[in-house]
């Protein structure tokens, strides 16, 4: 058979261009002479410059010589007087409380030899019940930030406390007008100190002292609406665990709205389809949020349509309002579903609205009143004390300062107005004109850098504190480390300046004594030490008699052709932790983008507007400019399925340090070989852009959406995302989901069919047999004897928040690699959370519509309003691990306890194992992250202080080895040892991995699978349990549980049926439940 076709490698070859013919014979073209090559000035930018090579050569020879002579001397310095409760080598845990002005939680802090190294939720005490978010877990790294202000400063120069105290006290005495601008103070002691200050200052020579509360993300409208409806300006407690129907209008309560640490726990309790009942979440929003991705029904609306949604529901329930209620498409469908569901659940419902518009909050109150939810899901008595800001007061003060009529003394605590105000630039100019401005900030940030004095407050982990986040609870924060720097508690500073106390120095007890005093007045019969041990104490809630009265709805948001929404990402929030490299590198739960903010836009609109919708290592995204009034921001445009049409979203918290302020090493863009990307003024370039520009004061509140214009701008911007494809491409064996209806009424075979293969039985007939009965290998002896560590992950409960990922990073010393490396797919996270959209080709995630017409190309383009599944994925610890069989040096082996072990020192870095891993969970350590210059800015391990956060029980891996999830083997060994020492069995739930420990919804269960009564055993044998890629027979020790949505899905009803005959074509075990 002769070959007649002509094959060619390129058009050049086909056309036989002169260049092609010239170069044809040269396999290695000599275009550059060696002299040219060596003379290239950029050569020293490359990874192995000639000088580096010589250095390495010289070092190797020297090292080899030295190593042959003698071992290096290691020093050991014991305590002079060992503290009684410290045993070197053993962790000490402290119960404490976290509050940064936005997030609040009861926490446990793990310290080793006096260094806090890990934070987790306190499951035993506090109303947050152990729930935390990524920011709280990562805040431990902030303690060791090397760019913190190390002592009091005057105009940027370090000075002593006594000098600063004298100067400020004198200024306060002289001042006519003193303003204390703070974030929401929930500390009873701090409030007492402020009241005392007001009392003594107001008395003196006509001084006027005022305290203004300013929250960058404000909930002022809820207080204002409740004042109008109930006569009480409070934020009530919400209980999502009691609501059978939850309707949320743009309230991202699982990630950023109000008190997510409490709400995730409550929500998680009711997402278990095996429970008594399962709640139904109907969510309306513009930008796909964590809450939206977990919704059973999701309506896409413009911010200006929120009023219409609320009015539609109100009218649907029989209420009346003059607000227009025109809805269409997904919003109408979701709103109809909401009305139907609300009618059924009545007072066991909850309607919340995330807008900071008073009119919208009044509409929400009206619906809740109509449903009679006050008293069941909404508790007006137990009010939330967070977010006390009254935006109108803030606006007044800001305008006064900008007009140059500012106070004589401005004290600023927990606020960064230059960054967070819409008119921050004008505020900055005016701030310079204020005689005495004092900041308590830990960094010389945008505002503090301009202040006369910085009187740095302790880090939260260094100081005493007390909190009343809710009426029902008083909480205490205790220090877990002696202050690292010459900082002082802000509470102490206020007391000193007020002449009430003297400075206490490094080991000051001023704040401690004062808080104890407060405690003694509040709880005269309780023990302070015992309360500190628990971290909190219940307090009585005085019942209020509140009656609902109607109020006028006006001042609703204006609408426009294109509207921009600013939102908070779960990692960066309002930008308080923008200098935290763990959080910067945490992939966003929805977009999976790291190290950047961007404009989110629906891919359908992007195609129309001529934007590229695909991006990868080489190809970036188009830039666009959003303009609101006279302010504009140019950012890359990210294709986000599920973004409401004619809206764009931009995340807050980015663009910190626009003038190169010292806010932390990791807060700026870095170059390919280290160092900062510098702007035209030689200052480092901030990461992303500041979206606070688009906020505005309107109708006495701060608004977080606006009418905008968007224009495509010149240029392509590289983007670093950890997951660049969108859907699961109909692969049924990865993600499984069903509806509550199918789950309750049909057999397991319908929604969670077992994988089977055909074989010949004794009578030589074909029969179907479960995959587990086919085996190439000898069974590994893990089935019955000893321990077998396993894990189950409930896809129904997982909300994709990312807490597990950060907890894993903190526990296992996972290096930070920076944007450039993430872009190359070299992120080191041992645990990743895959996010899958369901495209139009799939009726729901992972379900192929039709085998014959299914198109991968179409599947990749996710639907306009897709379904979402979050799936945490880590090493599956396969009992027949494909990685183990290909390792040429047996560096990865299997333990008799079911663990896939990794001996780093044995690994020679062939990467065969990663190549052979079906789950792609192995990470190759490409660089010497703790010392290579590329990572100086981003990797905390390169810093003498930052290094203190490392977990001493886990090796810091070196270059050239493979690493991966160890199932927190250090904790397994510690748990076993503790049991052995006590001579008892390992208790169920005693061993927890970092991920399971930190999961706010308890989606991850770990334990000893060989313990027949353990939670993990029961969970893995549940009818919802399945194993990912079970058909390839690797026998993992990790189980997933089918995601169940509380929705109606006709397509799925058709697909998920029990088949009558065992007639299946697939020889690869892909038994489908569809016809």
């Amino acid at each position: 058979m002769g070959i007649t076709k002509k094959y060619w490698k390129g058009l050049e070859e086909l056309k036989e261009t002169p260049e092609f013919i010239k170069h044809k014979e040269q396999e290695f073209p000599h275009q550059q002479t060696i002299e040219d090559f060596l003379a290239d000035e950029k050569l020293n930018e490359t990874s192995t410059a000639r000088r580096d090579f010589l250095k390495f050569l010289g070092f190797s020879v020297a090292a080899a010589t030295l190593a042959a002579c003698e071992a290096p001397v290691t020093k050991a310095v014991p305590y002079v007087v060992k503290p009684e409760n410290v045993t070197p080598g053993m962790p000490t845990w402290y119960a404490s409380t976290y509050y940064d002005g936005v997030s609040y939680a009861s926490i446990l802090v793990k310290t080793r030899e006096g260094r806090p190294i890990y934070i987790k939720g306190n499951k035993d005490f506090g109303f947050t019940k152990g729930a935390v978010n990524p920011q709280i877990i990562a805040s431990v790294l902030g303690l060791y930030d090397s760019e913190r202000v190390t002592g009091p400063t005057t105009k940027g120069n370090l000075t002593s406390w006594s000098k600063v105290d004298d100067a400020i006290s004198a200024d306060l005495k002289k001042a006519k007008d003193v303003v204390l601008l703070t974030n929401s103070i929930i500390s009873p002691s701090m409030k007492r100190a402020i009241d005392e200050m007001a009392l003594s200052l107001n008395g003196e020579g006509g001084t006027v002292f005022s305290h203004v509360t300013y929250d960058a993300v404000s909930y002022s409208a809820i207080r204002e609406a409740n004042f109008k409806n109930f006569g009480a300006p409070l934020i009530p407690s919400y209980d999502f665990s009691k609501a059978k129907t939850i309707v949320s209008v743009d309230a991202d309560f699982l990630s950023s709205w109000l008190l997510p640490t409490e709400f995730t726990k409550q929500f998680g309790e009711r997402r278990n389809p095996d429970g008594e009942w399962m709640s139904k979440l109907i969510h309306f929003e513009s930008v796909m949020s964590v809450t939206g991705s977990n919704a059973d029904y999701r309506g896409m609306i413009k911010p200006s349509e929120q009023a219409a949604v609320l009015a539609y529901i109100l009218k649907g329930l029989g209420g009346s309002t003059s607000v227009a209620s025109n809805l269409k498409d997904s919003a109408k469908k979701a709103a109809d579903e909401a009305i139907a569901s609300l009618k059924k659940s009545r007072k066991e419902s909850l309607v919340v609205c995330g807008s900071n518009n008073v009119g919208l909050q009044i509409l929400t109150n009206k619906i809740n009143n109509l449903l009679n939810t006050y008293g069941t899901t909404i508790d007006m008595n137990n009010s939330v004390e967070l977010f006390q800001a009254q935006d109108s007061k803030v606006e007044k003060l800001v305008n006064k300062i900008i007009a140059g009529k500012g106070p004589d003394v401005l004290l600023m605590y927990g606020v960064n107005p230059v960054y967070t105000l819409p008119n921050g630039a004008e505020f900055a100019k005016a701030l310079k004109g204020i005689k005495t401005s004092v900041s308590f900030a830990s960094h010389a940030d945008e505002t503090a850098a301009l202040a006369t004095y910085i009187c740095p407050d302790h880090h939260a982990l260094e100081s005493w504190g007390d909190f009343k986040a809710k009426q029902s609870e008083y909480a205490i924060a205790q220090p877990t480390i002696r202050p690292l720097h010459n900082t002082a508690s802000a509470l102490e500073s206020l007391l000193v300046w007020n002449g009430k106390r003297a400075r206490g120095g490094k080991d000051s007890a001023v704040a401690y004594d004062y808080i104890k005093e407060t405690f003694a007045t509040l709880y005269p019969t309780s023990d302070f030490a015992y309360t500190t041990h628990n971290s909190c104490i219940a307090s009585t809630v005085a019942p209020l008699t509140l009656a609902f009265k109607d109020a006028a709805v006006n001042g609703l948001p204006a609408s426009g052709d294109v509207e921009v929404v600013v939102y908070q990402k779960s990692a960066i929030g309002t930008g308080i932790h923008a200098n935290n490299p763990w959080l910067q590198e945490m992939p966003d739960p929805i977009t999976k983008v790291t190290w950047d903010n961007y404009i989110t836009m629906n891919p359908i609109e992007m195609v129309d507007g001529g934007f590229v919708t695909t991006y990868d290592q080489e190809n970036g995204l188009n830039l666009a400019t959003i303009t609101v009034g006279n302010k504009s921001l140019t950012l890359p445009v990210y294709p986000l399925p599920g973004q409401a049409l004619k809206t764009v979203g931009v995340a807050l918290g980015y663009g910190r340090g626009a003038n190169g302020e010292k806010i932390g090493k990791a807060a700026y863009q870095t170059k390919e070989y280290g160092g900062y990307v510098e702007n035209e003024n030689g200052k480092p370039t901030p990461i992303g852009g500041n979206a606070f520009l688009f906020t505005s004061f309107s109708n006495d509140t701060i608004q977080y959406s606006a009418v905008a214009k968007i224009e495509k701008a010149e240029g392509i911007y590289p983007i670093a995302a950890t997951q660049i494809h969108h859907t699961v491409m109909g692969r049924h064996s990865i993600v499984r989901e069903t509806t509550l209806d199918i789950f309750t009424h049909k057999d397991k075979e319908a929604y969670n069919p077992a994988h089977t293969l055909q074989r010949l039985n004794k009578d030589l007939e074909h029969e179907e047999a479960p995959v587990s009965e086919f085996d190439l290998w000898d069974a590994h002896p893990v089935e019955k004897i000893g321990h077998r560590w396993g894990m189950t992950i409930d896809l129904s409960s997982c909300i994709g928040c990312g807490s597990c990922l950060i907890a894993c990073q903190s526990e296992n010393n996972v290096p930070v690699v920076g944007k450039d490396e993430v872009r190359r797919g070299r992120e080191m996270h041992w645990l990743r959370i895959d996010r899958y959209f369901a495209s139009d080709e799939e009726s729901t995630v992972g379900t192929r519509k039709d085998k014959n017409t299914f198109s991968y190309d179409k599947a990749e383009l996710a639907a306009e309003n897709p379904k979402v599944v979050h799936m945490p994925l880590m090493c599956h610890h396969c009992n027949h691990a494909p990685c183990e069989t290909v390792c040429p040096v047996a560096a990865t082996t299997h333990s008799n306890e079911g663990l896939n072990q990794m001996a780093y020192n044995r690994c020679i870095g062939t990467r065969y194992c990663a190549n052979n891993c079906p789950y792609k969970v192995r990470r190759f350590n490409w660089f010497n992250y703790p010392s290579y210059k590329k990572f100086t800015e981003v990797n905390p391990a390169q810093d003498d202080l930052g290094r203190m956060v490392l977990n001493p029980d886990v090796t810091v891996r070196t270059r050239g080895v493979m690493e991966k999830c160890s199932l927190c083997v250090q904790r397994i060994q510690a748990t076993k040892l503790s049991a052995k020492k006590d001579g008892r069995t390992v208790g169920d739930g005693e061993f927890a991995t970092a991920c399971s420990d930190s999961c706010p919804t308890n989606a991850i269960i770990v334990g000893d699978w060989n313990d027949l009564r353990s939670m993990v055993r029961t969970s893995s044998e549940d009818k919802r349990s399945y194993q990912v890629l079970e058909e390839i027979g690797v026998k993992p020790n990790i189980w997933y549980k089918v995601k169940v949505r509380n929705e109606n899905n006709k397509e799925l009803d058709k697909l998920q049926v029990v088949e009558e005959s065992a007639h299946h074509g697939g020889s690869h075990g892909e038994k489908k439940a569809h016809h």
Binding site: K75, S895, D953, R984, T985
Partner: protein, 449 residues
């Protein structure tokens, strides 16, 4: 497959362990007198036999009390609980004024136990005169044995070299004779004469290429094996003995004064670190013992400097503390996790197993070579150099774990589960015991994570 590989490896290791065990003589524990044992465990942290320390010296203390006018039996009451004794006996009340600290209560000690302790104490000679002679003898003995060992090894090597040389000479002589014979018998001497020894060897090798090939292969493989074997036996840190800021004599503290190791290294049962004692632990005793007039007084002064203690007059703390920077002796690499409490509390391993007999160590601590460790009675005998991985896992392969004896809830449960797999259990029990290895002691993630 990986499993069978590992099992084969296990088999080999077990064979090695069995051979090793057979060569072991029966363990013979020296019977300590009950009094001595009790003294060392209960009293020695504060009391010495012949010298006042934190507590007064105990030599002939019963006679002292009797002559001092104490009531009959009061001393036993005192040991059980000094407060009751002090309340009823004026002499005991006088004794209770002893500073710096009050005595702990020992309600468990019966009268006969206390007598046993004090009988033993009274039988002790004054160490001030007895100790140096004993110490010198031990040192001399150890050194002598070391030299013997080296000499023996040297002589064996010498014999091999001599035999090798003789062998080569014989081969060359025989070869020469053969060559001459060949030349003599050849028909064309010219062609033969051109061949040198090398060429002749080559042609001979070519003719017998199969045998030569196999022989070469065997030689090369055995050389490689030998090379690696010798690499394994390199003691990387054996004998490492860094200088220390304070010349701390372990023999004086743990040997002569009989202080329990755990008194100073007190986190050894709780934590992964045995812990270098903090200076306040030293000061418990050294507040009194200042070594005045002794050659080592300067060393004790260093403790005072570190603790910020001014010994003049009644003595007081100045608050000027300077931590002591010791040089670590036993240094494990960062990629190894070692937990002392696992071995001491759970495994019941004596400190001697790895650190040698510190009661006779009269210079700064050092990493004892494995030969020294093997000489100690009761130690599991090992062959690999100290602090190498081979040494660790050799011990893990030899040490028996007591299962299912009702003493530990943890091991009872493991035993219960293990019994379910009869075949495996029998396999484990082939050598008559369950070792650490069989419970995962050879798995990578036991120590590396």
């Amino acid at each position: 497959m990986k499993i069978s590989n590992i099992q084969m490896l296990n088999g080999l290791r077990k064979l090695a362990a069995t051979i090793l065990l057979m060569s072991l003589s029966l363990l013979n524990f020296k019977a300590f007198s009950q009094g001595e044992a009790l003294f060392k465990s209960k009293c020695a942290t504060c009391h010495q036999t012949h010298k006042n320390g934190t507590g007064p010296k105990l030599f002939q203390v019963r006679d002292k009390w009797a002559s001092g006018g104490a009531k009959e039996g009061s001393i036993y009451q005192w040991v059980n609980n000094w407060q009751t004794a002090a309340a009823s006996d004026p002499y005991a009340a006088e004794v209770s004024k002893w500073s710096p600290t009050a005595m702990s209560a020992f309600p468990d000690l019966k009268k006969e136990d206390i007598d046993a302790i004090l009988d033993w104490v009274d039988a002790q000679p004054d160490p001030a005169t007895a100790a140096p002679a004993g110490g010198g003898a031990t040192e001399g003995g150890a050194a002598g044995q070391m030299t013997d060992g080296t000499e023996e090894e040297g002589s064996i090597a010498w014999i091999w070299i001599v035999m090798g040389v003789i062998f080569i000479v014989v081969i060359m002589a025989v070869g020469g004779v053969r060559r001459q014979l060949n030349i003599a018998t050849s028909e064309d001497p010219a062609s033969q004469e051109k061949l040198t020894y090398g060429e002749e060897l080559r042609s001979w090798a070519w003719k017998n290429k199969v045998y030569v090939g196999v022989a070469t292969l065997i030689v090369v493989i055995s050389l490689i094996v030998g090379f690696f074997q010798s690499l394994y036996s390199i003691g990387v840190v054996e004998g490492y003995q860094p200088s220390q800021p304070i010349a701390f004599p372990h023999d004086r503290h743990a040997g002569i004064n009989g202080i329990d190791c755990k008194y100073c290294h007190n986190s050894v049962t709780k934590s992964k670190h045995a812990g270098i004692p903090s200076v306040n632990v030293c000061m418990n005793c050294h507040k009194q013992i200042n070594g005045e007039g002794k050659p080592f007084a300067g060393e004790i002064q260093k403790i005072y400097k570190a603790a910020g203690w001014d010994p003049s007059g009644a003595g007081k703390y100045t608050g000027k503390e300077t931590p002591i920077v010791w040089n670590k002796v036993h240094v494990l690499p960062d990629h190894v996790y070692f937990n002392h409490s696992q071995h001491v509390s759970v495994g019941g391993i004596d400190c001697k197993q790895c650190h040698g007999d510190m009661t006779t160590m009269n210079e700064t601590a050092k990493v004892q070579p494995v030969e020294e460790l093997n000489k100690i009675e009761g130690n599991i005998k090992l062959t690999r150099p100290t602090l190498t991985m081979g040494w660790c896992i050799e011990c893990h392969g030899a040490k028996e774990v007591a299962l299912g004896n009702g003493k530990s809830g943890y091991y009872d449960e493991i035993h219960r589960r293990l019994k379910k797999d009869k075949a495996l259990y029998r396999k484990y029990l082939k050598d008559g015991k369950i070792t650490v290895n069989e419970l995962g002691g050879w798995e990578c993630a036991k120590c590396h994570y």
